[in-house]
């Protein structure tokens, strides 16, 4: 008993926070390592742009997947649903000559329906999520092929649809002095505005804490934390300013990450998800409608699949039967690398996003180095196994 309780003690949420910081540091270390190995190529402005563009769907899916993982389950159907949504949108535009907004609404509606379908079986019929989503993985991959009749459907004539994953926010390029490079002022301004917002929020937070006469962390700690966030964010916007400006997809990503973070950390619904994952029986006996929570989680996953499906088909300019293959595994890996627990109840959205970015940087760095695709898979798998093993073993050690 004593040992067990010790373990639980170490498995505290504080531990999860530390783990998250650890992964953020790992992300930076991996980034710097590949930058050196590629003689600075990874640091080129265009590669920052690519990093966002290429990994956007995994980040979107990881947000939805995190909720599933928090309940102690996974969703294996994600890749197939992404392909299915893309195929429906494509067919609506190409075969039925509908405008892009109809295709987008159709895609989102399909995602919502799939979410309800999964939620019905998992939450109301209480069929294990693993089995329901495994079945749906087959069902929706099959339906994708049915809808596309085996073809690749594209390109899309409607510019709006193509813009989603390929276009940028308006830019205003300026040349400073005698420099040969141009900077997009809008990117720079967004970066600086974000920095100011972060500072204002932190000051406000601290003053509220003082008003409640709670313990306030030392100012130096806050300053370091904020400084790191601001520097990283502004390196990003600076690089993007030198490239093509802010991608539209970045705006969508930030919006999704903020919403999911807010739901999990600041709402009753989010608290209910953590409680359900931590101890479903206790959550139920505490008056939480666990069926509703479970339904909501898979509904949200359906919507995120739809968003990712639209983004992917927009980026590819076409819907293909093989689209989204093994995306579910990338999303699940991102959550686990980002500190989520396989038994549920532990994990954060920011962690999942960091996990997704680690995978993304690995992918890009290895591609730049010319590592063959087959070895890339080997290395990614090793990183997942290594990251989680190191984390669990160190936890067990300190637990004993």
């Amino acid at each position: 008993m004593g040992v067990n309780e010790q373990k639980i003690k170490k498995n505290s949420l504080q531990g999860a926070d530390l783990r998250q910081y650890g992964m953020m540091i790992a992300l930076i270390v991996i980034f710097v390592m590949f930058s050196i190995a590629t003689q600075g190529k990874l640091f080129y402005p265009d590669n920052f742009n690519n990093l966002i563009m290429q990994n956007s769907y995994i980040v979107i899916l990881a947000c939805g997947m995190l909720l599933c993982i928090l309940t102690g389950n996974v969703d294996l159907s994600v890749g197939s649903v992404v392909a299915f949504v893309g195929s429906v949108s494509a067919v609506v535009m190409v075969d039925y000559k509908m405008p892009a907004w109809v295709a987008i609404i159709a895609g989102l509606a399909i995602g919502a329906l799939v979410g309800c379908f999964q939620g019905f079986f998992i939450a109301f019929m209480q069929i294990p999520a693993f089995i329901v989503t495994l079945a749906d993985m087959l069902i929706f991959r099959g339906l994708t092929m049915v809808v596309l009749t085996g073809r690749t459907v594209g390109p899309f004539s409607d510019a709006l649809y193509n813009k989603i994953a390929n276009a940028y926010l308006p830019t205003y390029f300026v040349r400073f002095g005698t420099s040969t490079v141009e900077f997009d002022m809008i990117s720079l301004i967004v970066g600086i505005t974000a920095a100011v917002l972060v500072i204002i929020m932190e000051i406000r937070n601290r003053s509220i804490k003082r008003k409640y006469s709670f313990f306030v962390t030392p100012a130096i700690q806050s300053i370091v934390k904020i400084a790191v966030i601001i520097i990283v964010a502004n390196i990003f916007t600076y690089k993007l300013a030198r490239s093509s400006g802010l991608p539209i997809i970045l705006l969508i990503l930030v919006l999704i990450i903020v919403i999911y973070s807010f739901i999990t950390q600041n709402t009753v619904a989010g608290r209910h998800i953590y409680a359900l994952g931590g101890n479903a029986k206790a959550a139920m006996l505490s008056g939480i409608n666990t069926t509703k929570v479970m339904f909501f989680v898979y509904f949200s996953m359906g919507i995120m699949c739809a968003v990712a499906g639209i983004v992917l088909s927009s980026r590819n300019g076409a819907a293909t039967p093989k689209a989204g293959d093994s995306f579910e595994l990338d999303a699940i890996a991102a959550c686990y690398i980002g500190g989520a627990s396989t038994t549920g109840g532990v994990g954060t959205v920011i962690g999942a996003v960091v996990g997704a970015l680690i995978m993304g940087v690995l992918n890009m760095g290895m591609s730049l180095l010319g590592v063959p695709v087959e070895w890339q898979k080997v290395i990614k798998g090793t990183v997942l196994l290594g990251a989680v093993s190191v984390d669990l073993i160190s936890k067990r050690r300190s637990g004993n």
Partner: protein, 515 residues
């Protein structure tokens, strides 16, 4: 009946400083049926666990002699090799395996090493089933498809397969109906005639006085008396007196009772078992609680009190529930737990680790889990600062000993965990609190603090239903006692009439009635 088969001498067993057994002697003669009586927590099961090697040699003081030779068992296997087999209250059967497989589980009949000989397994188990009166069962039936009574008999067949000399049964009839119990008792008599000695732990005094040759009474870890049936008359009153005859010390804080109108009432409540649709668990129960009153539900383990409480609390137990619930004179709908909470009901579970707490989460978040609505705006956005404030307040108010409200509850002691569960429900501002074994497994100091919280709650005009297997606790805390037995209300006693003897008598006479 002559030779002494087993002798346990001066057995003392401590759990972190608390003596569960204190210098206990037990002598069992060959071929007798020896009954072990005592209240919950008296030390009966501990004594049997010492005997069967669950607590290995060296973790207790004293010696065990079997056939005159000293035994030092290091595990259960060692005691089984000597012919001592214990059948626990929770049966050790694998539900998806067949009867035959279960009979030889851990003791498989093999040809070459590791390869199961199915013919031998089936033939031998059929022989054993005949001995225990299950000759009409197919040995290939899955365990889950036969009733609890038959499962108990399979356990005995399993014991027989191990060449048992001394059979220990812990509450063998607790889960059985009368017919099944009767069968089991007859079987024990039959085994006795075949030379098998048994020790039986039981609460059911009528069964004990029917078949036991010798009765040993244990109280508070001490041997009280040993009654030989052939030399002195066996009398239930005498056993009861021996089991409970302790003076009550002042372990309960005083309370000025200020009892008002009936607040909460359950009428004609019937509940069926969640898995067995034909088994009635609660039968036509009527209870009520007044404002500012503590009502106790007394009864033996398995009497149906938890089932009653959980079925009332949002139908979280059972099926085919009928009956009505009234609050302040109006019938209320408590079909779901959410409804129950909204109607001012709270249920503090008996199993805080499994049903009460999110062990990996912190004190604060556990405390506010049931009352998140009062810490959020209409859009469901939490005000975490108000949450911290409330958690700090209750941590201080009911004295939760934790480093901070951010400490993970899994690392707290049992008593402090229980206080967190209590805080969780107090934060929902309930009118009626049902507390199921509120002080199980926690130390005396924490118990006293929880009693103080209970007194404070009733002083604020709340009503409390308390379920406890510790009779002194019921007598110390309750203004009124309902005696529950076999899913029925066996009697209602006022504080003045309620004593351990009167409650026991109530249960005994109800048991006879049911017969």
């Amino acid at each position: 009946m002559s030779n002494v088969l087993l002798e346990m001498r001066h057995i003392t067993k401590e759990f972190s400083g608390v003596k569960a057994l204190d210098d206990v002697n037990l002598t069992v003669k060959e071929g007798e049926i020896h009954a072990l009586c005592g209240e919950n927590g008296a030390g009966k099961s501990t004594l049997m666990n010492v005997l069967s090697g669950v607590y290995p040699h060296g973790t207790y003081l004293g010696e065990i002699l079997l056939d005159g030779k000293e035994c030092k068992f290091h595990d259960i296997k060692a005691s089984e090799n000597q012919g001592i087999v214990i059948i626990h209250q929770e049966l050790a059967l694998s539900p998806y395996l067949s009867i035959a497989e279960n009979v030889f589980i851990g003791n498989e009949q093999t040809k070459v090493s590791g390869v199961i000989d199915w013919n031998k397994t089936r033939a031998h188990s059929a022989d054993l089933l005949k001995k225990v009166g299950l000759e009409h069962e197919n040995v290939n039936t899955r365990i889950m498809d036969i009733g609890v009574g038959k499962q108990q008999l399979v356990e005995i067949a399993k014991a027989l397969s191990k060449k048992v000399k001394l059979l220990i049964l812990d509450e063998p009839t607790a889960a059985l109906n009368d017919e099944e119990s009767n069968k089991l008792l007859i079987l024990l008599k039959k085994l006795q005639s075949e030379g098998i000695t048994s020790i039986m732990i039981s609460h059911k005094l009528n069964e004990i006085s029917r078949i036991a040759d010798v009765i040993t009474v244990i109280r508070d870890g001490k041997l009280i008396e040993t009654i030989q049936r052939d030399t002195e008359p066996v009398n239930e009153d005498r056993i009861i007196k021996g089991m409970v005859g302790r003076e009550l010390v002042n372990r309960y804080p005083d309370r000025e009772s200020n009892i008002g109108e009936v607040v909460f009432e359950v009428r004609n409540w019937n509940v069926y078992h969640p898995l067995e649709a034909n088994r009635k668990v609660i039968n036509n129960v009527n209870i009520n609680v007044r404002k500012g009153e503590v009502v106790g539900l007394a009864g033996l383990m398995g009497a149906g009190r938890t089932e009653l409480a959980m079925s009332i609390f949002g139908r979280s137990y059972g099926q085919k529930i009928t009956g009505s619930i009234f609050k302040d004179g109006k019938e209320i709908n408590v079909h779901t737990i959410t409804h129950a909470v909204d109607n001012g009901l709270a249920y503090v579970t008996e199993d805080r680790k499994t049903y009460g707490l999110i062990l990996i989460d912190d004190v604060k978040r556990n405390m506010t889990l049931s009352s998140l609505d009062s810490f959020s705006n209409k859009f469901g956005v939490l005000n975490k600062n108000e949450e911290i404030l409330a958690a700090e307040e209750y941590k201080k108010k009911i004295n939760v000993k934790a480093n901070s409200i951010e400490q993970v509850v899994g690392s707290l002691s049992g008593g402090n965990q229980q206080k967190v569960v209590l805080a969780k429900w107090i934060l929902t501002h309930p009118d009626v609190l049902i507390m199921d074994e509120p002080t199980r497994g926690i130390d005396v100091g924490a118990k006293y603090e929880i009693y103080c919280v209970i007194n404070q709650l009733v002083a604020e005009g709340k009503s409390i239903i308390i379920i406890s297997s510790e009779m002194p606790e019921i007598l110390g805390m309750a203004d009124r006692v309902y005696v529950v037995n076999e899913g029925e209300i066996a009697g209602e006693l006022s504080k003045k009439d309620a004593t351990q003897e009167s409650i026991m008598k109530c249960i005994m006479s109800h048991q006879k009635e049911v017969k």
